[in-house]
């Protein structure tokens, strides 16, 4: 560490939590020529699409925004490059964002290149999560592309001395119907140096006129994936690169005390000790891994830690209640009810298990640290590196190659920091790729949860009271869309025994599981059909529409949920992150209680559809991923050890687990597009649990159900 010039503490403190440092000064330094259209960052950090504030300055202006959120560059040679801090993890946003740009510029997809997730080249972005790319980034890039087209057209019109309205873009060329003249993008951009902010009133193509967006464009760089050419971080190799391995603590929360012994004969291996970090770098992976295993260290043992057996008891006893959302009075609601119900639901910790484990390649050259790593938060990880290594962010670059999935599990930079420590100490590029066991043990999990629900309902099916307490799993979709006059909804925070974090849909799966199971139980108490009972308590038209769409396609028969001697059908509805979902599932249950999914119908509505095939792919994928959490995925742990950190002990959904899945897309061209990466996951678990009840009469209130 002595090699690094120490920076003053204030230099680090100066960096705000959100580091908006891709400013105009930096931009102008990087901008070499051609035409650039900038999206102000303020457009992208507005919370809701409808609240997006424009600068208030009408028309083109030469003032640059202080902070840039995204930009499109028509390079002097006519190449079109869009820059965004978003990253590609399998959601296929490289394709959908390219579609948006191509649409507005009227050029083939192949002319457009996206530069994504590179902290030196792309503007600041909070991260790729929360299903925000489609509602936030796509419309802004679309505006930038439309403004770029208009700018280019006005330059062409001026040269030809014609009205701009007579110039069109056809087959990537500018043409004028009165003349035979034409110009390419390169003809126009050559010798021009022009930077503009997207104007407030730029018009983009209405959804009804989309010809590129709204269609099923295949993955733009699909060929690189089917040929094995695409380089994930874990595939990278730099000249002189070493391979790293980390000596792991005896258990979670143990801290490093001392190295007890290091084998004398380890050629080509360097041992690096740094605070709580103990690792090695070797000439190849086998050497490094073997060396790390042979080193013996002493770890300071933490106090005993809870495990699965006592988890839910622990969550209840160690909670700090948050502020409740109260509507009406629960006491009044229960007093008005004919029937009352009180139940508890539990949700296990599960792992993201991205097939590409965490990986990073780091190199430290001329006091500048560059790290390639698969993270959903390149700028956040840059900050983590700065904090851990005491290097100012101005001397750190994080680059995110398109990555082997994340599902919310790759927000953090542990592996990047490990690779960087080793690279700095050895003065060589170092690659660290976590083993599957490390990924299961030293990353983080979807939170476990305990949910208490108390409710009251009238005999006519009107729900009068709804009290809902979530312990630990989180607040996503904790509010109900059912119209209930008396509600108390409360989150209780707990110091989780395991490290936990984001996961596809966050707590929306847990909250929907508890809510939609409980709703089903209420319907059962009243002997009302589950679809009818839900519709009776739902005013939200969009929710009703997906429920009806799913029930129709499924062939739902009122009051006939038991569909065979060992079979049953269940339903659930949901809303989160702007998307509406309804799931119908049919299951069979064998004499041993083993649940088999026979059929799933899922209706989904997220406003105007951008790419139907990729949307279907996301929904199918979410349903398949949901099967694991619904039926068998569960982290087993005791006193700081993960007991099933391997695929042979932790079952993932496989081909044979997947039933026929019918997706019903409800396309609302009149509404802004919302993201779709997460919400389709929430409906399956409760629909399956409800179907199991229909088949067997046995109510399952814990995830996994199996």
């Amino acid at each position: 560490m002595t090699e690094i010039p120490e920076v003053e503490r204030y230099e680090l403190d100066e960096e705000p939590a959100y580091n908006f440092n891709f400013d105009r000064r930096q931009f102008l330094k990087a901008f070499s020529g051609g035409i650039a259209l900038l999206v102000p960052l303020t457009n992208l950090i507005a919370q809701q699409p409808e609240q997006q504030g424009e600068s208030g300055r009408g028309g083109f202006n030469r003032d640059m925004p202080q902070e840039i959120g995204a930009w499109i560059h028509i390079e002097p040679d006519g190449s079109i490059v869009a820059y965004t801090g978003k990253v590609e993890f399998g959601q296929n946003i490289r394709t959908s964002l390219t579609q948006a740009v191509a649409e507005e510029l009227h050029v083939p997809l192949a002319m457009i290149r996206l530069v994504m997730g590179d902290t030196d080249l792309t503007p600041f972005d909070m991260g790729t999560f929360g299903s925000l790319t489609t509602p936030m980034m796509a419309p802004q890039l679309r505006k930038a592309a439309a403004a770029a087209r208009e700018t280019l057209i006005s330059i062409v019109a001026q040269q030809w001395q014609v009205e701009p309205s007579t110039v069109r873009v056809v087959d990537a060329k500018f043409v004028n119907h009165d003349t035979t003249k034409s110009m390419t993008f390169a003809d126009v951009a050559k010798g021009v140096k022009l930077v503009k902010t997207i104007p407030a009133d730029v018009k983009t193509t209405p959804v009804a006129q989309w010809t590129v967006a709204g269609t099923s464009i295949p993955k733009v760089d699909g060929r690189d994936y089917v040929t094995g050419k695409h380089k994930y971080t874990s595939d990278m190799k730099r000249d002189g690169m070493l391979y790293g391995a980390v000596v792991r603590p005896s258990r979670i929360n143990a801290t490093f005390e001392a190295r007890v012994s290091t084998p004398a004969n380890m050629p080509g291996v360097q041992v690096v000790e740094d605070g709580n970090f103990l690792g090695v770098a070797g000439v190849d992976q086998t050497t490094a891994t073997r060396a790390a295993k042979q080193i013996v260290a002493r770890w300071k043992e933490p106090p005993p830690q809870p495990g699965n057996a006592e988890l839910f008891d622990y969550l209840r006893k160690n909670a700090t209640p948050g502020r409740a959302r109260n509507v009406g009075s629960i006491a009044d609601g229960l007093a008005a009810a004919d029937k009352k119900l009180e139940q508890t639901y539990t949700i296990a910790y599960i792992a993201h298990a991205p097939l590409e484990p965490r990986a990073a390649v780091a190199e430290y050259v001329d006091n500048k640290l560059t790290v390639w790593t698969g993270t959903q938060r390149p700028f956040g990880v840059r900050g983590e590196l700065a904090d851990a290594l005491h290097i100012p962010v101005s001397r750190i670059r994080v680059i995110v190659p398109d990555t082997g999935s994340g599902y919310g599990g790759k927000h953090s930079g542990e592996c990047a920091i490990e690779a960087a420590r080793l690279a700095i100490a050895t003065k060589k590029p170092v690659k660290v790729v976590w083993s599957r066991e490390e990924e299961f043990t030293w990353a983080y999990f979807r939170p476990a949860g305990l949910i208490d629900v108390k409710s009251g309902v009238k005999n006519d099916g009107t729900i009068t009271a709804w009290e809902f307490h979530n312990y630990n799993s989180g607040t996503s979709a904790i509010q109900t869309r059912y119209d209930i006059p008396n509600q108390q909804i409360q989150f209780h925070e707990v110091q989780s025994p395991l490290r936990q974090g984001s996961y596809r849909g966050l707590a929306a799966t847990a909250n929907h599981f508890a809510r939609e199971t409980h709703i089903d139980e209420l319907g059962t108490v009243l002997n009302m059909d589950p679809v009818e009972f839900r519709l009776k308590n739902l005013k939200d038209e969009r929710m009703r529409a997906v429920l009806e769409a799913a029930a129709n396609r499924f062939g739902w028969r009122a009051g006939r949920q038991k569909t065979g001697p060992t079979r049953g059908a269940g339903v659930a509805v949901g809303f989160e992150k702007g998307g509406y979902v309804a799931t119908c599932a049919e299951v069979s249950v064998d004499s041993a209680g083993k649940v088999k999914l026979e059929r799933v119908v899922e209706a989904f509505e997220c406003g105007a559809i951008v790419n139907p095939k990729h949307l279907e792919n996301q929904i199918e994928g979410a349903v398949v991923q949901a099967i694991g959490g619904a039926l068998f995925e569960q982290i087993e742990f005791a006193n700081g050890s993960i007991l099933n950190p391997r695929f042979s002990r932790y079952r993932l959904p496989r081909f044979s687990d997947v039933p026929p899945i019918e997706v019903v897309l409800v396309n609302r061209k009149d509404l802004a597009s919302a993201g779709a990466g997460e919400t389709p996951i929430v409906g399956l678990a409760p629909a399956v649990g409800n179907a199991v009840f229909a088949a067997t009469g046995k109510r399952l209130r814990s995830l996994p159900l199996g």
């Binding site: 399998g90 295949p218 089917v226 595939d235 190799k237 097939l355 999935s405 990729h614 959904p653 044979s656």
Partner: protein, 163 residues
Amino acid sequence: MANVTALNVNGKKLTVNVDPQTSLLTVLRNDLNLTGTKYGCGESRCGACTVLIDGQQTRSCVTPVGKVANRQITTIEGLEKNGRLHPVQDAFLQADAMQCGYCTPGMIMAGVALLNKNTKPSREEIVQHMNRNVCRCGTYLRIIAAIQIASAAKGGAKGGRDD
């Protein structure tokens, strides 16, 4: 411990100087820079490391390199011939049978192995054959469709053998 192993990879004869117990996956990725074959679990449970040995699908992560000396090894990089994709690769593009793409090479190799021995597999046979390959993004239905497309396209695709 290290000694020379003669290999035949994608039709090329070459030698590597490694401990024969080293996994074929490690040799492919680290020594031969054939990184299309992926690490997923290291215990033959996910299929990301699938390659063909004499046309049979094999988990390279648990295969010592010493055991495959002089046998025909085909990796994802060896399927494309003269700029033409193998029908299974082509079918994966047609069916858009991928999201993050990390499992894709292993899936394609497993699909090629299946069609090598059974040109017209039923849906059930596809599921059974492919069941040890994991796609965490859950694109299974599209992968099944892709294998069906490839099967139909060539009346049963032959390939993946370097003969």
